[in-house]
């Protein structure tokens, strides 16, 4: 019973945050709603026994990435979004397109028998030790490749954000 109650609390947080992200006009309000979505997702991960992923979700997504977003919004002094002719066309074409995608995804999900299987608490235990054993065992090569990717991303961010004549 507690499992269902916790699921609904976190799911309601996700849904409310996602809708608020779309409804808000100012980017800083959207960023704060996105933080709510990410924190609720971390709770859902913990409910499924994904301890490591839940912790990383809070540290990297709700922490590092969103701080970066808020920094850029403050730095560029982003104001309320202005509406032009293009935004009305996007609204007319975007909502039916998204509705079609939604119907397709829901149909595919509900059609398969596998998705009716129940998920219980403690079914899988994704603690740091077992994740680490997998990362430094079978997934060692992809792990090392991501380190190169992060290095390139750091250099790219520095090159892109510096002043032209410096």
């Amino acid at each position: 019973m507690l499992h269902e109650i916790l699921f609904f609390i976190f799911a309601a947080g996700c849904v409310a945050g996602a809708i608020n992200l779309l409804a808000q006009k100012h980017p800083i309000n959207s960023a704060l709603s996105l933080i709510v979505v990410m924190a609720s997702l971390a709770g859902l991960f913990l409910l499924m026994g994904a301890e490591f992923v839940g912790a990383v979700q809070v540290i990297i997504y709700a922490g590092a990435i969103m701080v970066l977003f808020v920094f850029v919004i403050m730095l560029l002094n982003a104001g309320v979004e202005e509406h032009t002719k293009g935004s009305r066309i996007a609204l007319i074409l975007g909502i039916p397109g998204a509705a079609v995608i939604a119907i397709l995804i829901t149909w595919i999900l509900l059609r398969s028998q596998q998705s009716q299987a129940p998920i219980a608490i403690g079914q899988l235990h994704g603690d740091g030790a077992s994740i680490g054993r997998l990362l430094f065992g079978p997934f060692l090569l992809p792990f090392e490749v991501t380190s190169v990717l992060v290095l390139i991303a750091i250099m790219g961010a520095v090159v892109l954000a510096r002043k032209e004549d410096a």
Binding site: I19, L41, M48, L68, V72, L76, L93, G126, L134, A157
Partner: protein, 100 residues
Amino acid sequence: MIPLSWYLLLSAFLFICGVLGFLIKRNIITIFMSIELMLNAVNLTFVAYATQLKNLNGHIFVFFVMVVAAAESAVGLGIIIAVYRSRETLNVDRVNLLKL
């Protein structure tokens, strides 16, 4: 006991919210945040299926998605700052020329 389909439907809802935000929002930072929302929705699917299949590989995939998302947001925000320096706007409708 929660059916897998509830997690999948929640994830689909978040993904659709991301798609909708990507299409209807005009502020380049909000569009970027919608992309992050889509990545998060996919992470939820990965973890739900990992739990149902009792296989930890899904968690590893989530870890890699997070690393790539962090790299992507660092480079993307750098690009946004560069665009703002040259165009003085964040509205994607006003960024429509390859060369000033």
